[in-house]
Subunit: 328 residues, 2 copies
């Protein structure tokens, strides 16, 4: 079998997850990892694979079928995405919802000019949740869509906690409120406030001599991050944090409640994820879309795409005949 040659750009949690996901797909091989750091200091899992500096990517243009971009959406991807898309087929997990139209436009232009194919905003939200919102809304045009996240670690909120004075370390879990999920599942089509949908649970390690009450208040009243939620703050030791909060679980629910016919028959479509490792799952989604990008590019297509544009069969290692016989 001719293998799909993958390059990884950025070796953080997602980059490592992509490396692990490649090992679980027999039609793929990792060709190189590119980093902004000094390459000799970056240790990867896979034996015999080169770690190179990002400045040295162009020399491998003919050896890599798809580049998986594992940088951040805030500053990294908007800058390097279009540059890479002009020279490589790409997959990324760009997730700044408000800036997706602008990012798509820039990626589309660059990829078209370079004759390459780039799939943006791949993962589970945006990604699998987006797909399920689209499918459910197309089937049930009259209805409401609800998205709940968690229970899971929010990196942004954990960072926000750690910036509070007196906080040595901390982690934040977003928790969907079960009563709200049940109201949605009942088909009652409720209007839910931000506070009614999610709780925020914070586990905080204090600096020596820090004021507990002041820290708790600073967190709970923090605008944009916590003030619109019911938030709990639990103080723990650094050892407890390491022992009990070292994983990155996540998940959630995308639910559509809609009706059909003249009698208003109700229907509930629910897609849910329960993930032990958010970065490994996200990476697994990225990797099957890399397969689709490879196939579309081989068929002569170019430009930017999203998960909405990709026929599901392109994601699978199986042939169309196998899919029809075995999964339909």
């Amino acid at each position: 079998m001719e293998k799909i040659r993958i390059g990884i750009v950025g070796y953080g949690n997602i980059g490592r997850g992509v490396e692990l996901a490649i090992a679980r797909n027999e039609d793929m091989e990792l060709k190189a990892v590119f980093t902004r750091r000094e390459p000799s200091l970056v240790k990867i899992h896979t034996e015999g694979v080169a770690v190179k500096h990002m400045d040295d990517m162009m020399a491998m243009k003919d050896e890599i079928d798809v580049m998986v971009l594992c940088g951040g959406s805030a500053t990294d991807l908007p800058e390097i995405g279009p540059k890479l898309a002009a020279n490589f087929n790409t997959i990324d997990s760009f997730d700044t919802h408000a800036r997706i139209p602008e990012y798509f436009k820039n990626m589309d232009k660059a990829a078209k000019e370079g004759g390459k194919l780039g799939i943006i905003s791949v993962g589970w939200d945006p990604g699998m949740f987006s797909l399920n919102r689209l499918y459910a809304e197309a089937i049930l045009p009259q209805g409401s869509t609800y998205t709940f996240w968690g229970k899971g670690v929010s990196q942004g909120h954990s960072d926000a906690i750690r910036r509070v004075e007196g906080v040595k370390n901390g982690i934040q879990y977003t928790v969907p409120i079960e009563a709200a999920v049940e109201r949605v599942r009942s088909g009652s089509d409720p209007k839910l406030t931000t506070r009614e949908k999610h709780l925020r649970e914070c586990y905080v390690v204090l600096e020596e001599g820090a004021d507990r009450q002041a820290v708790e208040k600073a967190i709970k009243t923090m605008p944009n991050y916590f003030d619109e939620y019911d938030t709990t703050v639990t103080f723990i030791t650094e050892e407890e944090l390491k022992a009990q909060h070292g994983k990155m679980p996540h998940g959630g629910f995308a639910i559509r409640s809609g009706e059909t016919g003249e009698d208003g028959n109700k229907h509930i479509i629910e897609y849910s994820l329960k993930l032990d490792s958010n970065p490994e799952f996200t990476a697994s989604v990225l990797i099957c879309y890399a397969r689709a990008a490879y196939r579309l590019a081989k068929a002569g297509q170019s430009g930017a795409r999203t998960v909405f544009d990709i026929a599901p069969a392109l994601l699978s290692i199986k042939t169309p005949e196998e899919l029809r016989a075995g999964l339909l």
Copy 2:
């Protein structure tokens, strides 16, 4: 807005559902209903729409963009499907799993020769469940997929009950066993027997003077239908049957449990449906795939397709820009 002109072939539960679904999609209009019965005896909901005999379809070749075939899979679709696919773009819900490869081949040949596009096996299983099995397996190549059906009415099993001597009327519900669903959701990857996955609940109206015990035994031991399941038989009156069992609810769960990485991190992907009306929901899925067939045919494509081949964006009334801005 130029509307997509739909024809319905066969006016049973699904055909009526398609008619109702068209009314809920503003870019569609019902052009004609075709029946094998005497057209004047078939009363439809929509005013001003013609009911015609199936022999008179060809005269409307240029007035219909997509034909939705609402016949049965056992004998109806294998015969009329290819004939229609040679002359019209088609959607059907062919659901005899074992014969899908053969049906696909016949539809593909006919549609290609006629320069038309036909999407087969559309609905929720096969259909949305198939899609979710494919997506989940592509993301998590190492794992197990489970499908549970119900609680819902099985037409085939209800028919089987009604053929038992002494039975005047009856209905059968397929019920997923909650304990089995919970074992799957826990990620324990259980091996489940047929008996462990589903119960069968029968509600039976007896003929006058019929032998209760003989009827109960005949149902519970019926090969293929009931002998491999735990089955309950409850005797009710014709009035109770009408009052409490007149709807056609259904639903179910497609669940994949899989792992990633080197530490065997577990992930659960679950897609579930809870439907008040099985035929109306199935019809709603058919109708959004009719939109996709229309668009693909307009773009010059022909031949047979399944849900696996259809990019999700083609199902939505929204533009790609609207989808990226609003749903991604």
